[in-house]
Symmetry: C2
Subunit: 305 residues, 2 copies
């Protein structure tokens, strides 16, 4: 692994943690009456103290290709991460994936209670749009409105939430999902928000339509590779190294590309996706400027946790 | 009750129903990969076929004070209603208010299942912001970004979701809420979104700062009156006329202004709020133009269901 990539990822993660901590401070912001203490605590439990912050990193690095400073990209980066954190809280609920452990800590409904977890997720999701739409995020209101629109499309019925619904539906079906259905489901459940992170960076940077299209392909390809890497990990890890319950897909007899294709074919598919991603990236931004995002693509494919 | 008011409310309700039906049609919109059938059905169950559509009506009528047509205000009106519908779905969940009946029909988690209800709520909330941010909602991106920001502030941690959290917390406390705490909680839980409906109409209409401030006072006052009317209703209705479980506040020994002040003092408070509302409205828009919103204030105070 490229050391400067690791350093950049870690430095961005610290900045994101700090920015999220400030956004989730106890003081009400203009337009808010008050911030109820227990609800805010549950939101902070969900959003702070963990995670690689890969999605905000992608926003920051993609915007950086076009000369946007990390500070200027930070609020859009936090908006994506708030959506990601909400999705983890709701996916962990007893009625959904029923997980007790997340990043080595109790999930929100375990540390607090189920009602608090539902409301904390709702409030993180709502806050993502508040953060994105706020004038502090970008001086141009058309950029802010586009950010909100893209984030909502990536997260909702036709994106992440829809993908989670398809995933839950699959558990109820008599026949497992086909390869095509798994690809579509995962593109919505995981890929859409990762692709949004890249597209948000392109938007902030004022990328041309051709660059945006190529960066969007990059985002979708690393999203798909990320999910295969996650499935490979689920098949071989134990809970100690991963900090969450593992082997659960196999336990539920859930179709993944690993279960459908086998281990080595899934690895080859993942590598082909990374190849596509890097090609799309070079098309958008030729030369050494994209070295960090190239490293990010390989990081996504090889991640250990 | 003014007959023309009843007609306008009913006509607006039909238009809103139609617009929501079109927004929740099976065809994916640009930016969405697909609309999973069962999730969409759960969203339609939650959003279609019921309700007075009071919040969208307030958007449409307030915008209409400034010459904005109902059609031009319709998408902003639908965005508020989508947030309202999401909140009902999540509030009805077993971990929250645990209600089986809503508008005389099974709640979403009863008609579908709990996971579908959580995801349907999440997706309705997300879709509200997608609808608000879309260029079809208003040609000026700064209006769209403001709409999103105001809607998020009214709905989230410092608004509706925060109010629901305070309400749930109150059930756990040894001592009941004080009058001041009940007022604050209800202003967040119910008042913030009703006030947003009025403020959104003022924004679409290009109201002056002074008009906007007065209309905002109107919105907050009718929001507070609405909640007292709801509490009064809860104390005297039965489930047959209301189509949802009643007497539940009393059963939970929950503090409301009715339980704290008694029936007739609560009625007087409600009437004083309606007086304040009408005064604020006349300050914003003198003369007969505001007759429908004046009637709306009285309707809110006297509602039977």
């Amino acid at each position: 692994m490229d050391e400067s990539f690791e350093q950049r990822l870690s430095a961005a993660g610290e900045s994101v943690e700090q920015a999220l901590g400030a956004l989730l401070s106890p003081e009400p912001r203009p337009g808010e009456r008050c911030r109820p203490a227990r609800l805010l605590e549950a939101m902070r439990h969900a959003a702070l103290g963990g995670g690689k912050r890969l999605r905000p990193f992608l926003v920051i690095e993609t915007a950086g290709l076009f000369g946007v400073t990390p500070a200027a990209a930070m609020r859009a980066a936090c908006a994506v991460e708030l959506v990601h954190c909400y999705s983890l809280v709701h996916d962990d609920l007893p009625a959904m994936d029923d997980d007790d452990l997340r990043r080595g800590r109790p999930t929100v409904h375990k540390a607090f209670d189920e009602a608090s977890a539902i409301l904390a997720g709702d409030s993180l999701l709502t806050y993502a749009f508040e953060v994105a739409a706020d004038p502090a995020t970008h001086p141009d209101p058309s950029v802010r409105a586009s950010l909100v629109l893209m984030l909502a499309q990536a997260s909702g019925l036709g994106g992440m939430a829809g993908g989670q619904a398809l995933d839950l539906e699959a558990e109820r079906r008599a026949t497992p999902l086909s390869i095509e259905e798994v690809i579509e489901m995962q593109a919505m459940k995981t890929g859409a928000l990762l692709a949004h992170a890249v597209e948000a960076g392109a938007l902030l940077g004022g990328a041309s339509p051709a660059q945006t299209a190529a960066l969007s392909r990059f985002g979708r390809a690393i999203g798909a590779a990320f999910q295969i890497a996650d499935d490979l990990l689920d098949h071989r890890s134990d809970a100690t190294t991963l900090g969450k319950r593992t082997g659960k897909d196999a336990a539920r007899n859930k179709a993944t590309l690993v279960s459908l294709l086998g281990f080595s074919a899934a690895e080859r598919w993942r590598d082909a996706l990374i190849g596509d991603a890097v090609a799309a990236l070079n098309e958008a931004v030729p030369g050494p400027a994209a070295a960090t995002l190239t490293a990010a693509a390989h990081f996504v494919a090889g991640r250990r946790s």
